[in-house]
Assembly symmetry: C2
Homo-oligomer: 233 residues x 2
């Protein structure tokens, strides 16, 4: 294993960017991993690229994967993204923005890269508090994946323990933002919206925008995002 | 959940074809799932298509995934496939034909399809006896993935238990072939070779060809494969 060499799943959103900032600050050699999965918008990937440059990450891999053929989510098929729900409503049940088995797929790819790159630590920005009710963002999911990883791989069989680390799992969105802010992370580079307009502006009304705005408000910091709804006003 | 509707991972090889034959014989509605992962040869996928038609499977999905960017295996990168090893040598260690985290990735996609198709049973032709020493073909891997699946998904949270079934896991290659033969499976449609020649003929010398030939011999059946080495003679 290469000491201090880690993999970070980087979506271009607020959580994964903060996770990357944390491990980079700890002096790790960071391989960022992003996925081009025919999202409705490529803005997220552009954000991931900007964040990777901003944080001076050591390597940024973008893998092309095909989730649109599977569909089943507002993010991968023609299903409307819910709008203007309260933080309480967002936590009820599993929303249509849930992408079936997405984090399982992402972590599986990370595991493959970990095998090839001789890395034992995989970081994911999963967060179980201020988040939509996605089953694959819960601590028990992360633990189960780690157990799997240690049976599935050559790395594990050859004696290195693979660790799936989710440093934000029990933080509120406000705590995450404060942490990144203290590390100098430029949140204007990150992008959270599920349903941006044609100009690429965040809608300000989807679950992800609402949680982001609430997080910045609770952190007492200014959200640098330019929202489409602000432009309309 | 849709009763009797199952997903089968179908590579076009002997094991997955037998698995599909078994579940089809049990009266299941079978969704076969294959992957185009920039293998060196597309022959495997053609075999999967033929097997799906032969067994009259209900649906055959082929997902494009990109493993060549990750590499790390003789099947996805420019690494030589080992030849003429004995069955004992094949069992020693993890060979270079191991594709990092491949079964984890395949099962993750199957999980996504299961969510969308409302399926709770996923079949994989993994076999831990007459097989190369792949970590992700062992019973403990299958069990760990099933545990993960039941934490990762909407299906599980909504109350259905996802099962990862590997009916061949403890069978010898000979037993697998006898089973498929009894079910009328035409093994001439399946393809096992890791390193076919330009005409698409199986090499007869890689681990997979050796295990296949040994399996047919021990089953007392004729291997219908036309091997390149037979042509040379």
């Amino acid at each position: 294993m290469t000491l201090n060499k880690v993999i970070v799943l980087l979506s271009g959103g607020l959580d994964s960017a903060t996770t990357a900032a944390i491990v980079k600050d700890e002096g790790c050699h960071v391989i960022a991993l992003s996925f081009n999965y025919d999202q409705r918008h490529g803005i997220e990937l552009e954000a991931a690229k900007k964040v990777a440059r901003h944080l001076n990450l050591d390597k940024h891999m973008i893998l092309n994967i095909d989730l649109s053929q599977i569909g089943g989510s507002a993010l991968t098929a023609a299903i409307d993204v819910p709008k203007q729900r309260s933080a309480e409503q967002i936590k009820e049940g599993i929303p249509v923005t849930y992408v079936p088995a997405r984090n399982t797929i992402f972590l599986s790819y990370a595991l493959a890269v970990a095998e090839v790159e001789k890395v034992a630590d995989i970081y994911i920005g999963a967060n179980s508090l201020d988040y939509s009710g996605y089953p694959d963002c819960r601590p028990e999911f992360i633990e189960a994946f780690e157990k799997l990883a240690n049976l599935a791989t050559k790395t594990a069989i050859e004696g290195s323990k693979i660790q799936i680390k989710a440093p934000l799992i029990n933080l509120t969105k406000a705590e995450i933002i404060k942490r990144g802010n203290a590390l100098g992370l430029d949140y204007s580079l990150t992008f959270s919206c599920y349903d941006p307009d044609k100009e690429g502006l965040a809608c300000g009304q989807c679950d992800s925008c609402i949680l982001r705005k609430k997080g910045f408000a609770e952190a007492g910091l200014t959200d640098p995002t330019q929202y489409a709804s602000m432009v309309i006003e």
